[in-house]
């Protein structure tokens, strides 16, 4: 019997509203490995895809932000569990895309999975760490709580295709926001696989939307979209960030500016990626007999 089985190749598509559509534009682009060898054709997301993704993210925002913090934590932990089962596949894709040795690729995948665990544990502690009971000079119980900003557009890092992506996406979700992510342009394949993990991890449809393609092309549409509340420019292509920040000013979006160069994603993330996508609500509740 022959062992030369003909492989079933994977079609890499977008992940929008819990489904895996092709780009409505019908466009694809060739993705190569670090050495230039062809890996796959990925969907090349268009303006319309970005708008569809925002609609899905807005529709999902109420349910996700309204879920209990405990529930959100379990869902994010479940992402780590499901990723663990796909460990080998992620290692292969990261190694190919980023040109890493298998041990370094494994370290990146391990760290990406652990990052979900870290943020899963944050969901029900943000209120304690970032909230407050304010001793006002009057008969009120006055308290402040962190709440999600809403729909967050994320331009994911261009180099770190999985660990970088998870490092910018997970904090957005942990705070209760929904996300529209433009993945690394040249290294989009781990993002598509992550979409498959999210689709089977109890993350409600629309909470995460992953667009493979060019942030330079889609970024401006997201930056000026009135139904996007915040934008993370971490992966903005060189020279684009200032214009994107200007566009974002039109609807007073919260903006995370890009670092001078892509950081070492293995470092302890702290709270710095959580707080930009949280609002503080202060409630004055009367006291009296």
């Amino acid at each position: 019997m022959s062992t030369d089985r003909l492989a079933v190749r994977k079609t890499y598509k977008l992940y929008v509203n819990g489904a895996f559509p092709r780009s409505e534009s019908g466009r694809t682009y060739a993705v190569t490995d670090a050495k230039g060898a062809f890996l796959a054709n990925a969907a090349w997301a268009s303006r319309k895809d970005a708008r569809d993704a925002v609609v899905a993210a807005r529709a999902a925002a109420g349910k996700w932000s309204g879920a209990t913090a405990y529930n959100r934590g379990q869902v994010l932990y479940r992402v780590a569990e499901v990723m663990e089962g796909r460990h080998a596949q992620f290692c292969e894709e990261v190694a190919a895309g980023e040109g890493l040795s298998s041990s370094r690729a494994r370290a990146a995948v391990d760290a990406a999975i652990d990052r979900w665990v870290w943020y899963a544990g944050w969901t029900d502690k943000l209120g304690a760490v970032l909230g407050a009971a304010n001793p006002v000079a009057g008969p009120y119980f006055d308290f402040s709580v962190p709440e999600p900003t809403g729909v967050v557009a994320v331009l994911a890092p261009q180099r770190s295709s999985l660990l970088g992506l998870v490092s910018v996406l997970a904090p957005v979700l942990a705070g209760g926001n929904t996300a529209v992510v433009v993945t690394s342009r040249t290294r989009p394949l781990p993002a598509v696989t992550l979409g498959e993990v999210l689709a089977t991890s109890d993350v409600p449809a629309g909470v995460v939307n992953l667009l493979t393609g060019d942030a330079e092309e889609i970024g401006p549409w997201l930056a000026e979209h009135d139904d996007v509340d915040a934008i993370d420019l971490t992966g903005a292509p060189a020279g684009c960030a200032m214009e994107l920040e200007r566009l974002a000013a039109g609807s007073i979006k919260r903006v995370v500016r890009p670092p001078a160069e892509e950081p070492d994603w293995s470092a302890d993330p702290g709270l710095t990626r959580l707080t930009p996508f949280l609002e503080t609500k202060t409630v004055w509740h009367p006291m009296g007999l």
């Binding site: 006002v136 920040e245 709270l271 503080t280």
Partner: protein
């Protein structure tokens, strides 16, 4: 409406204040001439010119920023945090000691009733300095990350509605965290900021720590766009906020914006109507409605609509409009001719779009800028008076049937600064507050402020918080 009681005039004496015929800029601890064409600041209640105030040009602003930088590097930055705190305590005490002077000057320059400047603006301004003074040497315990450090020079631009109070909201946290300041007051209300400059001198605050540059929009732009400013803080309109966000795009400047609002005040059918009406009146008519968090949309449950409107009109009929310095005055003057024109325009649009305008019989003084308290009923959510910020004594009334509808209507705005809930049911307060997309929610009260309580908006009402532990983050490096 004939009033039950006749009130004798009870004016606060203005002799406590010496208004100089002209003022310079306050730069590096000295009053200096400005290079621009001076502005006249008028008493909006009489149109009397109070004083001529310098206009700072780009070069003047540059001198102020350089003074602030020097003070930051050489004096204020290296100073023991406890000593920075002591300067702020001194300023708080001086504001209390000179409270009457500040209150009278504020009412003269702004047009707001002395009852408010005396009981709200000035005491709260002092409280902000007192509160932040205590933070100066406790920042390591603020929970904002390890080793919090100041940003450097803060450029701050403030509005005309609460001139001294907004100054306090900006200057107190900036100084407590170790920054120095270049502040631009509003062009129509510069006088209390200049009196504050004198307080800084009285407190022996080192030169350059606080610099005050007066002028109009161009001066503000020069402050915001100056290359050596590390932090921009702005309170004002959403339109100007947008242009500032554009101007700082691509720079390293940290930005906080406190912008407009169109707050919903939601009255449920179980609310104590008299108390709710009092709060609604206070929420929209205090400070002539020149309040970014004013409760300018009344959402009233349909079953009590008629009762609430009748009670509201009765109460509004007893409001006293007139001389801001009279202790019995409830409604003072509109701050400027320009603002009055905007209020008139939007009110006319309200009528033209089909809403019904109601105003009490109300005699307006002949001189000055005045607008009577106004209520629009039959307002639909699509009307401009239900969407646009009027920034005047104009209330738009809408109705709802269910809590879900109330929340949907309250959130149906691009703004998200504040909201009010009136009900006897505590669990309903918390459930509705949870669902409102607004930075501050008042239950069975409205327009309450406290230095310990973070204030700021959602959505297009801006970002960043002022007050409380949260407010410090805006002025610290790497604060999470």
């Amino acid at each position: 409406m004939t009033s039950l009681f006749e009130y004798a005039p009870a004016p606060e004496s203005r002799s406590i204040v010496d208004v100089a015929p002209s003022y310079g800029l306050f730069v590096d601890g000295e009053f200096v001439d400005g290079s621009g064409t001076p502005l006249k600041t008028v008493n909006p209640a009489t149109e009397e010119v109070l004083s001529e105030v310098a206009t700072a040009t780009d070069a003047d602003v540059d001198r102020a920023v350089r003074a602030a930088r020097r003070a930051f590097t050489r004096v204020w930055g290296p100073m023991r945090p406890a000593d920075r705190g002591k300067y702020l305590f001194r300023i708080a005490r001086l504001l209390q000691e000179r409270a009457r002077e500040f209150a009278v000057l504020e009412s003269l320059d702004n047009g707001k009733p002395i009852r408010e400047s005396r009981d709200v603006d000035v005491p709260l301004a002092a409280a902000h300095f007192f509160y932040h003074a205590g933070w100066a040497d406790k920042l390591d315990w603020a929970g904002l990350g390890p080793g919090p450090r100041p940003l450097g020079v803060a450029g701050q631009v403030i509005p005309w509605n609460f001139p001294l109070l907004m100054l306090a909201w900006k200057v107190a946290p900036a100084l407590a965290t170790g920054n120095t300041v270049v502040l631009k007051p509003a062009e129509t209300t510069p006088l209390t900021a200049l009196l504050f400059a004198e307080v800084c001198r009285q407190a022996d605050l080192p030169p350059g720590v606080v610099n005050i540059v007066t002028g109009a929009g161009d001066t503000g732009r020069a402050v915001v766009e100056h290359e050596d400013v590390d932090k921009v803080a702005f309170t004002g309109s959403t339109e100007v906020g947008r242009s500032i966000a554009r101007a700082v795009a691509g720079t390293r400047k940290k930005l906080t914006l406190e912008l407009g609002g169109k707050a919903a005040n939601i009255v449920f059918d179980d609310a104590p109507i008299d108390q709710a009406v009092e709060g609604v009146v206070q929420g929209i008519f205090s400070n002539q409605g020149h309040v970014c968090c004013a409760g300018s949309r009344l959402l009233v449950q349909e079953s009590v609509h008629d009762e609430v409107i009748a009670s509201l009109q009765r109460r509004i009929g007893t409001l006293r409009l007139g001389d801001p310095l009279d202790k019995n005055t409830d409604i003072g003057a509109i701050n400027s001719a320009e603002q009055l024109a905007r209020i008139r325009e939007l009110s006319d649009v309200g009528e033209a779009e089909g809403a019904s305008r109601w105003q009490p019989a109300c005699e307006l003084p002949e001189r000055g800028y005045w607008f009577p308290p106004t209520v629009f009923t039959d307002v639909s959510p699509a009307h401009r008076i239900a969407r646009d910020e009027v920034f005047g004594p104009v209330l738009s009334v809408l109705t709802f049937r269910t809590p879900d509808e109330a929340v949907a209507k309250a959130n149906n705005t691009t703004y998200g600064l504040s909201a009010g809930i009136w009900t006897e049911k505590g669990s309903r307060i918390l459930a509705i507050a949870d669902r409102l997309r607004a930075g501050v929610v008042w239950a069975n009260t409205f327009n309450q402020f406290d230095p310990t309580s973070p204030f700021g908006g959602y959505k297009q009402s801006g970002y960043g918080r002022e007050g409380g532990r949260h407010g410090l983050a805006a002025y610290l490096e790497g604060a999470r």
